[in-house]
Amino acid sequence: MLVLSRKPDQSLLLGGEITVTVLSIDGDRVKLGVTAPRHITVLREEIFKQVQSANAGAASASARPPLAAIASALRSR
């Protein structure tokens, strides 16, 4: 991992088109600003992992009972 020190108002450039700026530091919270082209998705890592994990979980065979069973449960709720 590349490790760099930055102060507030200093930035990093990633790949020439993504800028990450340290806006402020308050205790254990760092406020970052990200400037990136619209096609670059910027997500908090934990949110990304939540959705990734939900996708993997939904795709596993044990999470897939017959549609008829799900339909029946939906109807009876």
């Binding site: 017959p66 069973a69 799900i70 449960a73």
Partner: protein, 154 residues
């Protein structure tokens, strides 16, 4: 169980006549979130079940299939707003509304949950899709829907 391949539109539309459309295949050019290789799918519904439910079967990996449904039947106020970039990614023309699906998962405890945080949006005309992440929406990846009893799972 008899399965029929349905059109991309038929989860929303009342029509079940799938034979006259070429949009039964779904293509997610960027894959799903965190699963970038999951690009090509086909929607498969089972005969005798409501069209609001389908398997989204991977064409890249036969072991991968997700149960999808129309999230508005779980939450009537559900909304998956698309940015201009999202609309461009889907190739949606002005005035065309995307189809919106969410995945359903049955947990080990028998609870059926819906991923409302990461809906799948699809261009109904081309089958091009994308998974959104509705950051700050308050939606969860595990929206509790109902509990399946053992008899229903078996």
């Amino acid at each position: 169980m008899t399965v029929t391949v349905t059109t991309a539109t038929s989860l929303d539309a009342s029509s079940s006549d799938a034979s006259d459309s070429a949009t039964d295949a779904l293509m997610f050019p960027s894959g799903l979130v965190g699963c970038a290789d999951w690009k090509r799918f086909v929607l498969i519904s089972a005969e005798g079940t409501p069209l609001q439910l389908a398997y989204m079967q991977s064409l890249d990996d036969p072991n991968i299939a997700l149960v999808v449904t129309n999230p508005s039947q779980l939450d009537p106020h559900y909304a998956a707003p698309l940015s201009l970039e999202d609309r461009a990614d889907l190739g949606l023309s002005d005035g065309t509304q995307p189809l919106v699906y969410c995945t359903l998962t049955v947990g080990g405890d028998g609870w059926l949950t819906a991923n409302l945080l990461g809906p799948l949006v699809v261009n109904p005309l081309t089958g091009t899709g994308k998974q959104l992440v509705l950051v700050d929406s308050g939606y969860s990846t595990q929206f509790p829907v109902t509990q399946l009893v053992n008899a229903q799972i078996a």
